[in-house]
């Protein structure tokens, strides 16, 4: 059975959970062989085992995205075990929910290390191999935080950086036949948000501020990533695809929305 990504080799960072995991699983269902990179050994193996159990090819690679030697070795191993690398999904990320004066320089550096330097290192390792293979596709998970500000200084800075580096590289990599795009998720129900979304007031306010009326699912982002690495998006590069249930497309009034939008209808 010929599939959209038949036997293409992909490496997904943060593949042990959340958006990375959902993307690894979906790319596999579309025919790809997936290297699942995560710092959590059990989680990385969990995703690769699930792919293998479904009849797909996968390998688990454990490491810290911020360690250059580990990243280089991971990409080399992915090629050795699965074949020439054609797809990279940068999805590993952390958040420190603190504002400027609460954020220590150490916390700032760690968030930048994972969310920005980690992406940079995987790009540096993957691009020469994609070029050698005749081209490739890269998807970078950014955030609506990079567009709007989201309250967390280090996280927002890294996601703005992801948007910027994606645009920078689109023109730089186009002659190498490599496309690169980002996705800006809204609030997605993953481990990254587990603590805040467990707070009922925050959870309800989040849903109320999302026109589509629900939290995002990791699969929503995985579907967007699949589109951006598939031939269907062959003329799409340097763009950011917002997948947020309409959250930043408009000013949203939460529970007041209905009465506000029909104010003149009810007030005469």
């Amino acid at each position: 059975m010929q599939q959209v990504l038949q036997d293409e080799v992909a490496i997904v960072t943060g593949a042990g959970s959340g958006i990375g995991r959902a993307t690894a699983l979906l790319l596999s269902r579309a025919g790809a062989r997936v290297a699942c990179f995560d710092q959590d050994e059990g989680a990385a193996h969990g995703t690769s085992s699930e792919i293998q159990a479904g009849g797909g090819r996968a390998t688990a690679i454990v490491g810290d995205v911020a360690e250059e030697a580990r990243v280089g070795a991971a990409v080399e191993r992915a090629e050795r075990e699965l074949g020439p690398l054609r797809i990279l999904v940068n999805a590993a990320g952390i958040v420190v929910r603190k504002n400027l004066l609460e954020t220590s320089p150490e916390e700032w550096r760690r968030v930048l290390d994972v969310n920005l330097t980690g992406y940079f290192l995987f790009l540096r390792a993957a691009v020469p191999r994609m070029e050698a293979a005749g081209g490739g596709r890269i998807v970078q998970v950014a955030s609506i935080a990079g567009h709007t500000g989201y309250g967390y200084v280090a996280y927002t800075a890294t996601k703005g950086g992801v948007l910027a580096i994606t645009r920078q590289l689109a023109s730089e990599l186009a002659p190498k036949r490599i496309r690169i795009n980002s996705i800006s998720p809204g609030v997605i129900e993953t481990g990254l948000n587990r603590d805040t979304l467990a707070d009922q007031a925050i959870r309800e306010a989040t849903v109320a501020n999302t026109p589509w009326g629900r939290l995002g699912r990791p699969e929503d982002i995985a579907q967007a990533a699949l589109f951006l690495v598939s031939p269907a998006s062959d003329f799409v590069t340097g763009t950011d695809l917002v997948v947020d249930g309409g959250m930043i497309s408009c000013i949203q009034w939460g529970a007041a929305r209905r009465s506000l939008h029909s104010f003149h209808a009810t007030q005469g």
Binding site: M1, Q2, Q3, V4, H147, L163, T166, R167, A170, S171, A174, P175, R179, G186, P211, W212, G213, R214, G216, R217, D220, Q223, A224, L226, F227, S230, P231, A232, S233, D234, F235, V236, T237, G238, T239, D240, L241, V242, V243, D244, G245, G246, I248, S249, C250, Q252, R257, R258, H261
Partner: protein, 253 residues
């Protein structure tokens, strides 16, 4: 999501059982979108002022379902009648507004009222009238609206005239209004903003393949695949956004 507009063997069509209206379906982006949606199992109603026979024939030859409903989208009454005729059960799942005109490239000094109104009539009013007609047929069970905008509406254009640029910017704004107000009714709305695409619209107007980093003009199928993604369940959490399909020509947000 194959480039040929048919799902790979073994995968279920994504839009089986859905009814889609595609405006501007006689040629270019509209035609390619009609073919792509039908390739995923949708029953496509093509609308245009031009002859739709080639589009219908192309869809049917590939084993898909398509019908032609001639209409001038700038005529509100005609649009209302066309939608009523196109969707007898009153249930519509997908609307793609691809009808558009380019107008002159003479700049603003020589722009007269007739020229301005001719462009706004199709690109803005035509889009709005079709959205107006489609929404009552979508509310409740849900639907997806995809409006074809333009990179010109994002960056002010280069070769396009001010009236075209303004009309496409308006389309992007309209999409956000629809997304915001209709989400509670289960209707999503997004735009695709193509760069220069090889269609009749831009032929002979000086666009060359080196205009973007990818080094080629867009193809109608590139835009059709983006519209297909935004019309399909794969984009169920995407609303109010503008998806750029321009080979890296413009990368703003």
């Amino acid at each position: 999501m194959s480039a040929k507009g048919t799902p790979p063997p073994g995968r279920a069509p994504a839009l089986e059982g859905r009814i889609a209206v595609v405006t501007g379906a006689a040629r270019g982006i509209g035609r390619a979108t009609a073919v792509a949606l039908a390739g995923e199992g949708a029953e496509v109603v093509g609308m245009d002022v031009l002859d739709l026979r080639e589009t219908v024939d192309e869809v049917r030859a590939a084993g898909g379902r398509a019908r032609a409903v001639p209409v001038d989208v700038s005529d509100r009454e005609a649009v209302q009648r066309a939608f009523a005729a196109a969707v007898p059960g009153g249930r519509l799942d997908i609307l793609v507004t691809a009808a558009g005109v380019y107008g002159s490239t003479t700049g603003i000094d020589g722009l007269d009222q007739a020229e301005l109104e001719a462009v706004l009539a199709v690109n803005l009013k035509g889009t709005l009238w079709c959205v107006q007609a489609a929404l009552p047929m979508m509310r409740g069970h849900g639907g997806a609206i995809v409006c074809i905008g333009s990179v010109a509406g994002r960056v002010g254009g280069v070769l396009a005239g001010p009236h075209y640029v303004a009309s496409k910017g308006a389309v992007h704004a309209l999409v956000k209004w629809v997304a915001k107000t209709q989400a509670a009714h289960g209707v999503r709305a997004n735009a695709v903003a193509p760069g220069a695409v090889e269609t009749e619209m831009i032929r002979g107007k000086g666009y060359t393949p080196d205009y973007c980093p990818m080094g080629r003009l867009g193809r109608p199928e590139d835009v059709a695949q983006a519209a297909l993604f935004l019309a399909s369940p794969a984009s169920d959490y995407v609303t109010g956004t503008v998806l750029d399909v321009n080979g890296g020509y413009f990368m703003g947000s």
